[in-house]
């Protein structure tokens, strides 16, 4: 192992750049340890303390920039410097030299053709900015949460009166005129329009539509509270009407948690006059009411996607899809095989999700098999996890919930919140780890890669303890996404995960494995 230093005299980089670069350089093969900074006496002392001080570094002054690293194997300082320069260039070109306006008014006076504002501010300040945007005639996508329900109602009423969209609060996914906004997947353009009160639910459906060979016209988000009584479905109705009138949209998909009954009625009343097929996924909602209105009901996000595609192709809506892409017999054999490897103590399932709707769907589909499922977003209040950092029995966690994201980025951006937990969750009594990996714009550049090492370690630990850990994953994304669907699936498979084509299929497989374990003589 050798410690080597590279220096840049009178070179200055802000600490944002230095932090990001250090993190990336530390991951390079052969880099055992690395320190970057300005060559002040104290930083040199720290370097000495870390055994990273070299004569070259010693000779520098406080205004000189250094990178010092302990390298092994084939890693050389030349390759590190190349990587450093590439990262510095990437930082420069991503920052660009384009003007970034400090206020909405300056933005509009510079570019009057702007017609949508994506707002992401702490909640208590967001409403005022939304108001300004609506007053200026802009549609709004409001990413912020912690906006009061009174403000939401007032702003949505204003938006509706001006025939503008106000997507949100807490709206993380949209695609307007094929422009992806915030967390969004790259999909083919096509004839299916989606209105969603659920971020990852929308992403799952749009991704599956693309995988099934069809495309999406528009994706309009409404925010999670839109279909509560207080808001009355203002944006769902506005968006639904917009898609009814949109000539590009031939089939409409509506996604939400079960609305307030009077709101559901208002939405379903529009179905009769839609003039085009409508697929409604009120996740776990009143199927009878949906079908009575003339819409097509679904049992899962995947089912919604499949039915929308079938309708677009002119088929009548197929029956519910509750199966798998591969023959049932193969699935049963796989489940039995996985169950057969478990130690007697292994009897629990842990779901670790970055998408709240995917976690919710998992719990609904697993409920009949597992019974009580503890969670930070439980289906029943009495199943609230007492400490979100400590799982119990069967547990499903939504890492995108506020409990994990105060002061930290969402796990789709920074997967470390979840990946740090994977090894810990693989306790001796855990049989199955279930997880989602979400691709697309806004997500981490390699979310599958970020969990692969932990999956390997968790499985190795289980094997060393005389058991076996089944890791089942699904990848929400498309081949067009920056991360690549195929590559992401391969990364997870190589790490030892069983990768299923959808969240619903991953969950159903998990249920089969747990059932097979139970039938072997384990307990629920």
């Amino acid at each position: 192992m050798a410690v080597q230093t590279t220096i840049r005299k009178n070179a200055y980089y802000d600490s944002v750049t230095l932090m990001l670069i250090t993190k990336d350089l530390a991951k390079l093969p052969g880099v055992e340890d690395i320190l970057v900074g300005m060559a002040t006496e104290l930083n040199k002392e720290l370097a000495a303390n870390l055994n990273l001080l070299t004569p070259e570094l010693e000779a520098l002054s406080a205004n000189d920039f250094f990178v010092t690293a302990e390298l092994t194997g084939d890693a050389t300082m030349e390759s590190l410097v190349e990587a450093l320069d590439a990262l510095l260039s990437a930082k420069k070109s991503s920052a660009g030299s384009s003007y970034r306006p400090a206020a909405l008014q300056t933005a509009l006076s510079n570019e009057p053709q702007l017609n949508l504002a994506l707002i992401s501010l702490p909640g208590r300040y967001a409403a005022a900015e939304v108001e300004k945007a609506l007053d200026a005639g802009l549609h709004v996508m409001l990413f912020s949460d912690n906006v009061s329900i009174e403000d939401e109602k007032r702003l949505k009423e204003k938006a509706v009166s001006k025939q503008l969209l106000m997507m949100g609060p807490d709206c993380g996914t949209a695609m307007i005129n094929h422009v992806p906004l915030a967390f969004c997947n790259v999909v083919k353009p096509g004839g299916i329009g989606i209105v969603g009160a659920s971020g990852t639910g929308t992403q799952e459906i749009m991704s599956l539509i693309d995988q099934l060979g069809e495309g999406v016209s528009q994706v309009i988000g409404t925010g999670g509270r839109d279909l509560k009584s207080e808001i009355g479905g203002l944006m769902m109705l506005q968006a639904f009407e917009a898609l009814i009138a949109d000539p590009e949209t031939e089939v409409i998909v509506l996604i939400s948690k079960p609305p307030a009954p009077e709101v559901a009625k208002k939405v379903l009343d529009l179905v009769k006059d839609a003039g085009k097929p409508v697929v409604v996924d009120f996740i776990g909602g009143d199927r009878g009411a949906i079908e009575a209105a003339g819409a097509v009901a679904c049992i899962s996000l995947e089912d919604a996607a499949r039915k929308a595609v079938a309708l677009l192709r002119g088929d009548t809506a197929p029956s519910d899809f509750a199966g798998f892409d591969v023959p049932e017999a193969d699935i049963e054999a796989l489940a039995a095989h996985e169950a057969g490897k478990k130690a007697p103590a292994q009897k629990y399932l842990r779901g670790l999700f970055t998408g709240g709707t995917l976690a919710d769907e998992a719990m609904k589909l697993l409920g009949p098999e597992l019974g009580t499922i503890w969670s930070n977003i439980p289906l029943k209040p009495e199943e609230q996890l007492k400490d979100v950092k400590v799982s119990a029995e069967h547990t499903v966690i939504d890492f995108g919930d506020d409990a994990f994201t105060v002061g930290r980025p969402h796990p789709m951006i920074d997967p470390s919140t979840r990946s740090e937990r994977i090894v810990r969750e693989a306790a001796p009594d855990v049989a199955v780890l279930l997880m989602d990996v979400v691709l697309g714009y806004g997500s981490h550049p390699d979310p599958a890669g970020e969990v692969a090492a932990q999956i390997r370690e968790a499985r190795e630990n289980a094997a060393a303890a005389g058991g076996d850990l089944t890791v089942i994953a699904s990848v929400c994304g498309t081949e067009g996404d920056p991360q690549g669907l195929k590559a992401s699936r391969e990364t997870l498979s190589e790490a030892g995960a069983i990768v299923m084509p959808s969240n619903a299929q991953a969950v159903r497989l998990s249920a089969k494995v747990m059932k097979a374990i139970r039938n072997q003589g384990g307990e629920k």
Binding site: N10, S15, M38, L42, N43, N63, S97, R124, V406
Partner: protein, 313 residues
């Protein structure tokens, strides 16, 4: 070519108006800031309209400053007409002047009662621990042996290699700073020289910490071992010891902070923590967190530390 300066700090305007022609060069350039270093050792910063003002700073109009073609080493001169960088004249005639709200002997308003200051400090510290960047010195608040414990630390607020290395010295500095004797002064100077220039960034983490510490200490009358004038002199002695031990930019920052003069965002925050000022503490803190990456957090960590010590003395 001529550019109009939009806003300028009072001390910067004074420098331009009162000094004879000064020459220097461009020290460093960033997207939103350009540092100018004069031969006299004075550092002046030009910022775009996307950044707030600070001591010895002036603000020009929109656009990336880096795209203007200015580069390190380019000649700079200052006269009563303005500042010339290369072939660009920066005119100050219509610039609005920014004056810091605090100056020695003229605080912005009534100082808070001890009880109210403590209440605001508790709220501030709680926010800082959940919203601040943990990569710098923030975890020190949960690991110090000298400061009062903040009450509750996030369970994932663990140390990092910087805190692990420097926390003992930060403890020594904090303890010695409050000793008003001559022996105390020697100790604090010694402690300071053992931590100045430590950490990543143009203004190393420990310098941001000390800047916040000094600026907060000089604003609060509670638990002080010496009067304001003496504290000011001590701060200036400390700042002078930074010369050659840290970056030029950080030397300048510490010299200003020694006098209680800090960037506009920090000024506002300290007003809310120490004086009867109206405003939203959380908003002010979030704005201060935008000031660099760990810089804002480290500055506020130092400020919190100073206030904890003085209010619990």
């Amino acid at each position: 070519m001529t550019m109009k300066v939009l806003r300028v700090s009072e001390d910067c305007l004074t420098f331009i108006a009162q000094s004879p022609v000064q020459t220097g060069e461009v020290h460093s350039t960033f997207e939103r800031a350009v540092n100018l270093l004069f031969s006299s050792g004075v550092l002046m910063t030009m910022v775009s309209d996307q950044l707030d003002l600070a001591p010895m700073t002036f603000q020009v109009s929109k656009g990336s400053l880096k795209s203007k073609g200015w580069h390190p080493g380019m000649p700079v001169s200052s006269s009563s007409e303005g500042i010339i960088i290369g072939e660009t004249l920066l005119e100050f005639a219509q610039a609005q002047t920014w004056t810091p709200t605090w100056n020695i002997g003229s605080p912005p308003s009534e100082v808070l009662t001890r009880a109210e200051m403590l209440k605001r400090l508790e709220a501030f510290t709680k926010l800082l621990l959940t919203r601040g960047r943990p990569e710098g010195l923030l975890p020190y608040l949960c690991e110090t042996r000298v400061l009062p414990h903040p009450g509750s630390c996030p369970s994932d607020m663990t140390g990092n290699r910087y805190v692990d290395f420097i926390k003992g010295r930060l403890d020594q500095f904090s303890e010695a700073y409050r000793d008003g004797t001559d022996a105390g002064e020697s100790r604090v100077i010694a402690a300071f020289t053992r931590l100045v220039g430590f950490g990543p960034g143009l203004t190393p983490s420990s310098d941001d910490y000390v800047a916040g510490f000094m600026a907060a200490s000089i604003r609060t009358p509670y638990g002080q071992a010496m009067n304001c004038e003496k504290l000011l002199k001590r701060n200036q002695k400390l700042a002078s010891r930074a010369k050659g031990k840290t970056t030029v930019i950080s030397e300048a920052m510490l010299a200003h902070a020694a006098l209680g003069h800090v960037a506009q965002k920090y000024d506002r925050l300290l007003d809310l923590l120490c004086f009867e000022a109206e405003g939203d503490l959380e908003a002010a803190m979030l704005k201060a967190l935008e000031h660099g990456d760990t810089s804002g957090t480290d500055f506020m960590t130092g400020a919190a530390a100073a206030l904890m010590l003085s209010l619990n003395a």
